[in-house]
Amino acid sequence: MTTSVASLPAAFRPRQVLSWFGVAPFLVFATLFLILPTLNIVLGAFRNAEGQMTLENLGKLLAPSIRSAFWISIELSLLTAVLGCLFGFLIAAAITLGGLPRPLRDAILTFSGVASNFAGVPLAFAFIATLGRLGFVTMLLRHWFGINLYGAGFNIVSFLGLALTYLYFQIPLMVLIITPALEGLRREWREAAESLGANGFQYWRLVALPVLWPSLLGTLALLFANSFGAVATAIALTGSSLSIAPIVLFAQIRGDVLNDPHLGYAIAFAMILLTAIANAIYILLRMRAERWVK
């Protein structure tokens, strides 16, 4: 569909001005409700209460409580991104290359679509009902196997509990993104490798992984951003007992704590920066990955 403008009769072209009215609402909307609010935050991060330029706000990010909140957030996002990639890859490999029945593959892909969108408050409730103090699995383990999870120090309202919950939307997202990449691995490549005497391990190390690594790393970055911006799940699960960056920002905006809007700006700016870097890595690597998919 590259014919559009050139193929139209010249008589229509002066009316180009008129078609701007079709695009203008979107541009105005995006400016008012996407660009300006974001710009306001970014600029606010570099201004003090009197409106002068300053780096003071960003300096406040180094305060121990804020720094540790970001650190926990980064650890949480990295851990769930790495594990999400790993388990998602294994499941995707099983349904594409593992010779499983076709209906099972379709069912898993459909379920992944649902689970990757089943985030937020209800997901937290599901995990509390399952691994909470009186949860289904907690009770099952205690009565059937005599294992006392909470006696052993486990708590769903913790870093580990949150990570376990986040994986519920991280793994399916990985499955959805990496399955097409795995299906793009051509049979001929494997046959060519085998005819040259490569074993399975050599095929993966020398052929498949070099083709896949941009997709893998890119998805890792995407999963990182995905978990870094998640707020609702964490709030519904932990209240505000676990201090991760989005929850600190949430409390700042609500005015629950010391209410310094400029510290809020700085936290928000740092969050944009991290998710923007992660997404940029994803997009760049994705473009690289698409070289192999023709």
């Binding site: 559009s4 306001n40 599901a126």
Partner: protein, 262 residues
């Protein structure tokens, strides 16, 4: 190869365990409100709660309005970008991807700073303003899904020829968009719409920070104050997500049969 198949079954089985247990757990918990065995008591209590009816109804209306607004903004944009401004495409694509890059909590923080009571456009000051603001906010969140699905739909039809044909019959732009283009991309629009519905119905951060009484904050409130009802709410929310995804699959399958292959 049989060994590989064994590992595949193992991976899928373990994955199945991890993904099904929370669903079983949430269902099991939601049925335990009465001590003498399973019952739907928690569902009965939730569905009879006027707060539930009010907040859920509000969220449904909000989701539907978001979809209408999203279509009204995106369909003309995607159409004119394809027909007249191919050079604008990267800009529009970038803008529609931004809501996935900027965390929603940051976007709503920006709204609160720009549209507060002491600003030029004090939307948060009134009931109407707040509702408009959250509607615009949700429409912003829906941009990535809406644009991509509409653009995919436009790719399958010959926009240029359809437009010329309609113009030669004397149609104006609004008529072309409403009577020619929209019906042709309707199936793709629907899949974007269902996804938007699934996202908006239980959204929490925007609603909580703009102080709007929708379904998301209601669920969180229940989570903090009740034992069994939250699980019942989670089951309801899961059913809605599942229904939306099933409808998307259904309409895309339908569209594969209905569009002419080229």
């Amino acid at each position: 190869m049989t060994e590989g198949r064994l590992w595949s079954w193992l991976a899928v089985a373990l994955g199945g365990l991890y993904f099904l247990l929370p669903l079983v757990g949430m269902f099991d918990f939601s049925m335990r409100m009465q001590r003498d065995g399973y019952s739907f008591e928690a569902y009965r209590v939730v569905l009879a709660d006027p707060q539930f009816q009010q907040t859920f109804g509000y969220s449904v209306v909000l989701a539907l309005l978001t979809i209408v607004l999203g279509i009204a903004i995106i369909v003309p944009t995607a159409y004119f970008v394809r027909l007249r401004f191919p050079g604008l495409r990267p800009v529009v694509e970038f803008l529609t991807l931004l809501p996935l890059v900027i965390p929603p909590i940051v976007i709503v923080f920006g709204y609160i700073r720009i549209y507060n009571t002491s600003s030029v456009l004090p939307l948060t000051g009134s009931w109407w303003g707040t509702n408009l603001l959250i509607l615009f906010g949700y429409a912003t969140l829906s941009l990535p899904y809406m644009y991509r699905s509409v653009d995919t739909g436009l790719r399958t039809i010959d926009v240029g020829s359809l437009t010329e044909a309609a113009q030669s019959l004397g149609s104006g732009w609004t008529r072309i968009l409403a009577v020619v283009i929209l019906p042709n991309v309707f199936v793709s629009v629907l899949s974007g719409a269902f996804l938007t519905f699934a996202i908006v119905i239980g959204e929490y951060v925007f609603a909580a920070l703009l102080n709007v009484g929708s379904f998301g904050p209601y669920m969180v409130w229940m989570g903090g104050n009740r034992a069994y009802e939250p699980s019942a709410l989670a089951v309801v929310a899961f059913a809605i997500t599942w229904a939306c995804m099933a409808l998307i699959q259904l309409v895309t399958r339908f569209s594969k049969f209905s569009t002419v292959r080229r």
